[in-house]
Structures are given as structure tokens and as C-alpha cells.
Amino acid sequence: MESVKTNNWEPKILAFLCNWCSYAGADLAGTSRIQYPSNIRVIRVPCSGRVNPLFIVKALQAGVDGVLVSGCHPGDCHYLTGNYVGRRKSATLKQFLEYLGVEEGRVQFSWVSAAEGVKFSQVVEEVTNDIRKLGPAKRLVKRSDEFGVRS
């Protein structure tokens, strides 16, 4: 059953994109007609530092196959230091999730500036490929019929 599904399966990836850079980078990729996989769903955030790690865990629970958080390069933060603070959250959360057994690569991070449409498409390509290799997310995912004790 699973394998049948896997054949047509396309990963669903949630991307938290900083309004000031990566979101504009995605825009640029689009307006420049650069192709990238359509697997990402974007949530625009004011800063990569705004991404509460809770959002990432929630996204995984809600059933996305992967999460990408993308913000401004170091030194370029619109709020000066938001991406630095976010970087610490990202580093610790990533390690922690992998420690608990969430596959490496489910949660990824990138710096993409507003000028980097090409880089944006490459990042999405890479992340999508990584997650496609990992297969559908199973750990932590809440099944729609899930209730009570999982047997």
C-alpha cells in the first residue's frame, strides 16, 4: 500500500521565508522564470529569527515531509541581528530533532538574499531531492484518524 502511494508521492515541504530576502529571492526566481520544484508551500515571516522552533515541530506534526527555513545572510538582517538569533535556534533544534530520531534532512536551513533567485531555486531543488530520498514523513506525524493509544 505504502509503496503504491510512494510511486506518485511528492514531498510536501513547508518553507518559512524571510520577507526581506528569501521571499524576495523566491519572487526573483519566479520573475526570472527560473524553474524549481513546486513542492514548497511558503509562509512569509518577517525574519528568520521569528521562526519559533515550535512552528517547525508543529509543521512536522501536521504532516509536512520537510521544513525549510530561509533568511538573510549574516550581517544582512533587516533588524540587524534577527538571523543570528534564529541561527542559534536552528542549530539547536536541528541537532535535537535528529538526536530524537527525526531523519537528518527533514528540517533544513538556508541563507538566500533578495538577489539570489538562482540560489533560491538551487536550494529548493536540493531540499526537495533530499526529502524525496527520505520518503514520506512518518515520525511525529499526526494521522487524521489518530486517537488514543497508538497500537
Binding site: 487524521s144 484518524d145 486517537f147 488514543g148 493509544v149 497500537s151
Partner: protein, 342 residues
Amino acid sequence: MSLKPATLSKKEFVSFLKQVMQTYDVIAPVELAEGVSAYRKIESPEEVSLTFHNTQKSAKEGFFPQSEVMFRYEKEGNRTQVTSTEEVDRPRLILASRPCDIQAFSLLDQVFSAKEYTDVYFLKKREMTTIVGFACNQPLSTCFCTSTGGGPFTREGSDIFLVDLGEVYWVEFLTEKGKALSKNEFLREASEGDAARAKKLEEEALKRMNVPVHLDGIETKLEQMLENPIWDGIHEKCLGCGACTFLCPTCHCFDIADEVSQKGGQRVRNWDTCLFSLYSMETSGHNPRPSGRERTRQRLMHKFNYFPKNFQKIACVGCGRCILYCPVNFDIRQAIREINEK
């Protein structure tokens, strides 16, 4: 006409249970981790573990699970199709419930069947369930069921009653429901010796229950104590977690919430506790029980004053779970003592 007691060899317990499971959904103590057990619907007899003093979570879960779907709904356009999950299609059997938990069932009955409204989810399960009581050969020092109207060998409320005699279980059939199991081919006729052994174990167990907790008159005592300064002290170490109330066999508060899924969703009830501040918090942010003082008071007043006022019985069966598992050693026996001394 009562049936003669039987015995069941422990070697044949698994076979016995297999046969039972052909007719019943069996809810039995399962060891979730070493030394931690709770009642679960079992898929195979091997899951059962009867080596507990008492389980952490009580057997009330057999009728009132921590989370329970009340109905599912599906939306189609403007219409919503609601399907209740109240029906119980197979007979159920709660295996090896301690007498304290069984006494608690009768208290929960009062709440859930109270005349104005019947709680179908609880009652339908209750009706369909056969209860196999399990004597406490070794009550713990934290047990005080004999002070709350029960006892380690109290049969009341059981359909069948088991006593662990070492190599075999002593099996008594107490009700019509219980007798339905008497035809199980793995039961043997009990001997005089078995009866004597069961009797002796009962006497020994009762002898262990030698530290009474004085609950006579506590309802009246508490009547005048709502604003007593005693509450300032009693609650102080309480962390405000829900461990005691969630493990308590008589606590029955719940919350109702909707869980949404893609097609529709379900309305669910989950255990809740008066010790959480959110429990009584109103949408405006106002909380009539703003601190641990009021919440601890509510817990004790409900058990020993409000519940008896409504149902003529205290809402405590002396199982000792709240004493054993409180993270800060809040001991309800001490609280009772303090109340009595006021």
C-alpha cells in the same frame, strides 16, 4: 443460587484468557514500563501483568478513558453528518481490578447516571462490562480502603472475584454476569483447602490495614471550613500538576474539545483537573479559583464535602495513589488529619 467457587491454575491462565477473549473485549493491567502499569484493552493474553500492588492509572479507564471520542462529524457542503460513538458492540471485561477501584465505579455511577441526564458513554460501557475483582493480598502502607468503606477483599461491585493463592487463583462467581464465565473449561472445582487459604489471606490482608484514617464526620467538619486559614498552608507545596487527580479512581472531571481533521472531525472529551488554573479560567481572564489555595481546597472539598452532600458518600476510596505518586509528597492522609485537628 450462587455457584461454587472454582480455581484457575496460573499455568492455564493464558488459555483461560484466550477463551474469555473470544466473547469479551478484555481490559486488563498492562505493564507499560517496569513498575508502571495501567488498564488497556489487550490484544493477546500475554500482555497482561498481574504483578502490581496497584496500577498507576486506575481501572476507571475501562469506562471513562482519558480521551474519548463522543461523536465524529463530517461536513458535506452546508450539511454536517454526526455519528455518535456511544454504542458498545462487544461485551467487555475488566480483568483484575482492585476492590478500591471497583468501589470507585459505584461512585462514578452516581455522577454519570444522576437522574436528570445520563452519560451514555459511561453507562453503555458499564452495562456491557463484567468486572473481575482482584483481592489485595498485600495492601500497601499507603492504602486506607478500610477507612473509606471498602477493604482489600471487598467483593462488592465485582461480578467475579479472584484471589491469588500462589499456584492458582481462587475464583468466586458473584453475579449473573459473572456466572457466564463459569463455563470456561480451564476452571477447576475448588477444594476446602483452597477456601481455607483464601480465607487466611483475607485475614492477613485485613490485619495489615492497621492505620485508620479518620473520615467520620469530615463532611460536617469541612462545612464550616471554607474560609479557614488551614488552606493557606495545605496547598503551599502543591505544584498544581494533575498527577493525583489523573491517577485517582474517583476523579471524573473532563473537558470537551473539537479535534479537526481533513474531512471533518470529532468531539472529544479529555480528563481535566481542578488543579489546573485553566480549568476554571473564564474567557474574560477572570478566574474564580485564582491560586493553588482555592484549587487544592476544591479538590479536598469536592472529595469530602460536596460529593457526600450530593451522593451521601465521600469521593475517596483510599487507594493511596495520590500519596504514592505526588512529586512533592502531598499526603492526603496528613491533610485529613489537619482538617480533623482544626
